[in-house]
C-alpha cells in the first residue's frame, strides 16, 4: 500500500552555493583511501599488506566478528600505505590506483534464479554488504537478521544535498536489479520514497512500494520515513540503503563488476561554480576541490553540513557520501553578537532574528557556534523541527544519564544521529545532540545487542 508522506514539522535550511545540474569528470585521484571509521562499530581486519596488488572489488578488509563481511577496494592498484593509530588501530588504507583499471570478475548473476541466502552471500563476498545499514543502532546490517522492511530515500531534503533525480538519471536497469535482489531479503517490502513532484528514475520500477514525500527537511531523512511508514518496534529490524549504492549493487548483479563510481555534488558558499563531479568512493578531497574554492579559511565536509564529517584537504570522500560541502569557518569573534538584530543567520525564533521575514532567502552560514555550550534550558523548540513521534529532549536526557530501560521505552530503536541534526541546529544551549544519540546507541548495542 503506497502512502504519501507529508511532514509539517521541520526546517529547510537554504544555503548559498547549490550545485548546478552539470556533471564533469573529476580529476582522477592518485590514491584512494578506505577509512574503517566510516564503518561504525566494525572491528576491521586486514586481508592485504603494503605492496599487495588488488583489483577493483577485491577485499582489503574484513569484519573481525563476521569474517564473511568484506570491504572492497574501490579501484585496482597497489596498497601503498596502511595508517595506524594508537594500539595499532587501522585508521586508513591507501591504494595507489593503476592507470588502467581492472575489475575483479564476480560474474553476472541471474537474479530470478537466486534465493535470499545466495543473494546475501554474494553481497557479502563482493563487498556490497556494508552499503546496507540497519535500525536499530544505525550500523551496518547484521546478515543474520531478516528485516521487516527495507527503506530507500531517494528524496534529499538536507541543505544543498545532491539531487537524486539528477544523479540517478538513466540508471533504471541497475536500480531495478538491486531492488529485485533486496526485495528477496526482507519478509516485507522495499519502501522507496521520492519527492512529491520528482521525476525520479525509481518511479516506474517493480518490486517496491513507492511513497511520495513532501514538506521541509527532515522529510527526506530515511528515519522520518520509517517512522511514518512502519516504525521499528522492539525486536524488529529494518534496513536502509542510499539510492546511489543501489546502482553499484545493481551493476554488480548485471555485469559482475564492483564499480565504485559515483556522482558527487560539490556545493557550498565557499565553492566557485558548484556542480556535480563523477568520481569514485575513497577519492581524495584534493582531486575534487583543488582550485575550486574561495579563500582559504574553509571547512570541507564530506556529506551535508548537518551530518557530514569535517575533512582536511589530504583526506578523502567518505564511503557513504555523495557530496562535498565547503563553507567558511566561523573562527572569529562577533561584536555584540548576542544582542544585535540578526539578518544573516537562520533562526526559528523571532528574538531579533529576522529569518522568519525572508523564508526564501539563501544564507551564507559559517561554522561558528553562535554562542556557548549550556545545560538544556529552552523547551518546546526542538519539537518544532522534529517530526518523529518521540520526545526529543527527554530521549536525549535519557541517553545522557544512560538509563537503558528508559532509552528503549522512549524510542531509541527508531532513531539515528542524523534524525537529531535539526534539533542540534536550533539548540539554544548548543548541545551536541548527534553525539549524544550516537553514544546512546553504542551503549545500547554493547549492553543489549
Amino acid at each position: 500500500m503506497s502512502k504519501d508522506i507529508h511532514i509539517k514539522k521541520g526546517l529547510d535550511i537554504k544555503l548559498k552555493g547549490e550545485a548546478t545540474k552539470l556533471t564533469e569528470n573529476a580529476i582522477a585521484s592518485d590514491v584512494y583511501t578506505l577509512m574503517p571509521e566510516d564503518f561504525h562499530s566494525i572491528i576491521p581486519k586486514l586481508s592485504v599488506k603494503i605492496g599487495s596488488q588488488v583489483k577493483a572489488g577485491e577485499a582489503v578488509l574484513y569484519n573481525k566478528t563476521n569474517e564473511e563481511m568484506k570491504f572492497p577496494s574501490p579501484v585496482s592498484g597497489e596498497v601503498c600505505d596502511i595508517v595506524r593509530g594508537e594500539k595499532r588501530k587501522i585508521l586508513a588504507i591507501k591504494i595507489k590506483a593503476d592507470s588502467e583499471q581492472q575489475f575483479f570478475d564476480f560474474g553476472a548473476k541471474d537474479l530470478k534464479a537466486m534465493n535470499a541466502d545466495e543473494i546475501k552471500s554474494h553481497l557479502l563476498a563482493t563487498g556490497c554488504w556494508p552499503f546496507l545499514k540497519q535500525r536499530p543502532y544505525d550500523v551496518i546490517a547484521n546478515p543474520a537478521n531478516t528485516p521487516k522492511a527495507i527503506f530507500v530515500s531517494a528524496y534529499a531534503s538536507a541543505p544543498l544535498a545532491a539531487d537524486y533525480d539528477y544523479v540517478l538519471a538513466g540508471k533504471e536497469k541497475e536500480l531495478q536489479a538491486a531492488i529485485t535482489a533486496l526485495s528477496k531479503l526482507t519478509t516485507g517490502e522495499v519502501h522507496v520514497s521520492i519527492g512529491k513532484n520528482a521525476n525520479s528514475p525509481l518511479a516506474g520500477l517493480n518490486n517496491l512500494n513507492l511513497h511520495k514525500v513532501s514538506g521541509p527537511h527532515p522529510s527526506g531523512n530515511v528515519g522520518t520515513q520509517i517512522n511514518k511508514i512502519s516504525p521499528v518496534n522492539k525486536g524488529e529490524t529494518v534496513w536502509t540503503i542510499n539510492p546511489q549504492d543501489l546502482v553499484i549493487i545493481g551493476e554488480l548483479f548485471l555485469t559482475g563488476k564492483f564499480n565504485a563510481e559515483r556522482i558527487v555534488a560539490l556545493a557550498g558558499s565557499s565553492v566557485e561554480a558548484p556542480k556535480y563531479y563523477k568520481t569514485k568512493i575513497g577519492s581524495s578531497i584534493t582531486s575534487l576541490v583543488n582550485g575550486k574554492l574561495k579563500g582559504n579559511n574553509n571547512r570541507i565536509i564530506s556529506g551535508n553540513v548537518l551530518t557530514g564529517k569535517a575533512k582536511n584537504i589530504k583526506e578523502n570522500l567518505g564511503y557513504y557520501d555523495n557530496m562535498i560541502s565547503v563553507i567558511p569557518e566561523g573562527n572569529d569573534y562577533e561584536l555584540f553578537g548576542w544582542n544585535l538584530p540578526v539578518f544573516n543567520k537562520i533562526s526559528i525564533s523571532r528574538a531579533l532574528t529576522f529569518s522568519w521575514l525572508m523564508p526564501n532567502k539563501k544564507y551564507d552560514l559559517n561554522t561558528n557556534t553562535n554562542g556557548e555550550h549550556r545545560a538544556f534550558v529552552v523547551t518546546g523548540a526542538y519539537e518544532e523541527v522534529f517530526p518523529l513521534d518521540i520526545y526529543p529532549m527527554q530521549i536525549l536526557k535519557s541517553c545522557m544519564y544512560q538509563d537503558l530501560d528508559e532509552m528503549e521505552q522512549m524510542g531509541m530503536y527508531e532513531v539515528a544521529p542524523e534524525d537529531f541534526a535539526l534539533t542540534e541546529f536550533v539548540c539554544v544551549s548548543k548541545q551536541p545532540h548527534q553525539e549524544i544519540i550516537r553514544k546512546g546507541l553504542d551503549l545500547m548495542l554493547k549492553e543489549i545487542g
Binding site: V305, A310, E334, L335, V342, N370, E372, G380
Partner: protein
C-alpha cells in the same frame, strides 16, 4: 592591536587559570566567542542562551520604568501632595528608590554566580540575567537592601547552584527569593504599610509620638481580604496606577510584554493562555458560589469571592507571575501537552489561595512554586503516554 585581538590574547593566556570564567563572562558580553562546531552538525542556528535571556530582560524594562514612575506617584499621592503620573518628580523619586534594588540584586546575584563558576571551573551562565531583573520588580519598594541581599544569596545558592546551576534548578529562583523574604520578614512583605514608599517610616514616626497624618499603603487585594472598600477603577487597575510590588502593577505593559515574548517564541503561549483560563474558571466558580447564596455578605471570604471573575487577572501579581515566572522553561512543564495542564493549575490555584487565605493575597507566587514541584510529575505522565503508545504498537504487531 585592536580590542578584539587584545581580549583574545588575554583569553589564550588565561587558559586553565582560576580567573578565566570571570574574564569570559565579560568577554562574551562584548563578543560572541570564536568557537566553531566540532561534532555533529557544522552549522548552528542564530540563537543562544544570552539572546534568549536578553529578550526577557528587554520585555521587563517597560515594567521597570513604569514601576519607577508609579513608586513616586503612589508616594506623593499617599502623602497628600499628588503629582502627575508622568512627571519628573514621580520618576526621580521612584528612580532613586528602585535603582538600588536593581543594583543590589545584580551585584549580589552575579557575584555568587561568578564565585560558583570559578569554584566549579565553568563559564558564568546567563540564568541570573532574568532573575536579577525579576527580583526588584516583585518586592515592595521599601524592602531594606540587606534583606534583599540575604534573600538573593539564599535564592541563588539554595534555589539554583546546589542543583548544578542554570537549567538544573527545580524551583524558580526569583520566586524562591521572594518566598524567602515573605516568610522570613513578613512585616516587610505584607500588610497595609509596605506598598507605598515611606509609609512604614511614617508609621514608625507616629508610634514615636510625632504628630503626623497616617499613610495607608494597602494593596487592593489586601483591602479586599479585609472586606474593605477601595477607590480604584478598572482603568487604574489595568494600567497600573495602584500600589503593589514595583513592577507588577501595570497589567497593560505586562500584556504587551507577554505578546512580545510569545511573538519572539521565547515564552510559551500555552502556559500563559492556560493559566488565564485556569484563573477565569476559578473566578467564575467563586462568583457562582456567591450567586447561589452559599456565601453571604457576613462571610470573611465574601469580598474576594464576589470580585468580578476577570478582575482577578488585573489585580495583584497574577499577570506578572503568569507572563514572566510561570513561563520559566527550566522549572515549568517541558512537554507541550504538559504546559497546558501546568498553566491551568497555576491560574486555578493562584485564585484559590488568594481567596481562601487572606494572609497570602499573593497566591500566584505560591501557586507557581507548587506547580514547579509538580511539573516533572506532569511531564512524566505525558511522556508515559507516548511510551504506552509505543508498547501498544508492539503488542498489536505481536498479537
Amino acid at each position: 592591536m585592536g580590542l578584539k585581538e587584545k581580549l583574545h590574547t588575554i583569553k589564550e593566556n588565561g587558559k586553565g587559570k582560576k580567573w578565566l570564567p570571570a574574564f569570559e563572562a565579560v568577554h562574551t558580553f562584548l563578543y560572541t566567542p570564536n568557537e566553531t562546531t566540532h561534532s555533529g552538525g557544522h552549522i548552528k542556528g542564530a540563537d543562544d542562551l544570552k539572546r534568549t535571556m536578553t529578550m526577557v530582560v528587554l520585555a521587563l524594562i517597560p515594567c521597570l520604568i513604569f514601576g519607577m514612575f508609579n513608586t513616586g506617584f503612589q508616594h506623593f499621592k499617599a502623602f497628600g501632595a499628588p503629582v502627575e503620573f508622568l512627571s519628573m518628580d514621580a520618576f526621580w523619586f521612584g528612580f532613586l528608590k528602585v535603582l538600588p534594588l536593581v543594583v543590589v540584586s545584580y551585584v549580589v546575584g552575579l557575584g555568587i554566580e561568578v564565585l560558583f563558576a570559578i569554584i566549579k571551573g565553568h563559564e558564568v551562565e546567563e540564568g541570573y540575567f532574568v532573575t536579577g531583573m525579576l527580583v526588584p520588580l516583585i518586592v515592595p519598594v521599601d524592602i531594606p537592601l540587606w534583606m534583599l541581599s540575604v534573600a538573593v544569596i539564599f535564592g541563588v545558592v539554595i534555589g539554583k547552584e546546589i542543583f548544578g546551576g542554570t537549567g538544573m534548578n527545580i524551583l524558580n529562583p526569583a520566586l524562591i527569593i521572594r518566598a524567602f523574604l515573605f516568610f522570613a520578614y513578613p512585616t516587610w512583605m505584607t500588610g497595609d504599610k509596605v506598598w507605598v514608599s515611606g509609609a512604614v517610616e511614617r508609621a514608625n514616626e507616629m508610634a514615636a509620638g510625632v504628630d503626623v497624618a497616617a499613610v495607608s499603603g494597602e494593596t487592593i487585594l489586601g483591602s479586599l481580604a479585609q472586606g474593605k472598600e477601595f477607590a480604584y477603577s478598572v482603568y487604574d487597575m489595568f494600567f497600573g496606577f495602584i500600589p503593589g510590588s514595583v513592577g507588577e502593577t501595570s497589567t497593560f505593559l505586562i500584556l504587551l510584554a507577554g505578546l512580545f515574548l510569545i511573538f519572539t517564541k521565547i515564552a510559551s503561549w500555552r502556559i500563559m493562555v492556560s493559566a488565564v483560563i485556569g484563573a477565569l474558571v476559578m473566578g467564575l466558580m467563586f462568583n457562582g458560589v456567591v450567586n447561589v447564596g452559599w456565601i453571604t455578605e457576613g462571610s470573611k471570604f465574601y469580598s474576594l469571592m464576589n470580585t468580578v471573575f476577570w478582575h482577578h487577572l488585573i489585580l495583584g501579581g497574577f499577570a506578572f507571575g503568569v507572563v514572566f515566572m510561570a513561563t520559566d522553561p527550566v522549572t515549568g512543564s517541558q512537554t507541550n501537552k504538559g504546559k497546558w495542564i501546568y498553566g491551568f493549575f497555576i491560574g486555578f490555584i493562584s485564585i484559590m489561595i488568594r481567596v481562601f487565605n487572606p494572609a497570602y493575597p499573593e497566591g500566584v507566587m505560591l501557586a507557581i512554586l507548587l506547580m514547579n514541584v509538580f511539573a516533572p510529575t506532569i511531564d512524566h505522565f505525558i511522556v508515559r503516554s507516548n511510551v504506552k503508545g509505543r508498547l501498544k504498537r508492539l503488542k498489536a504487531k505481536t498479537a
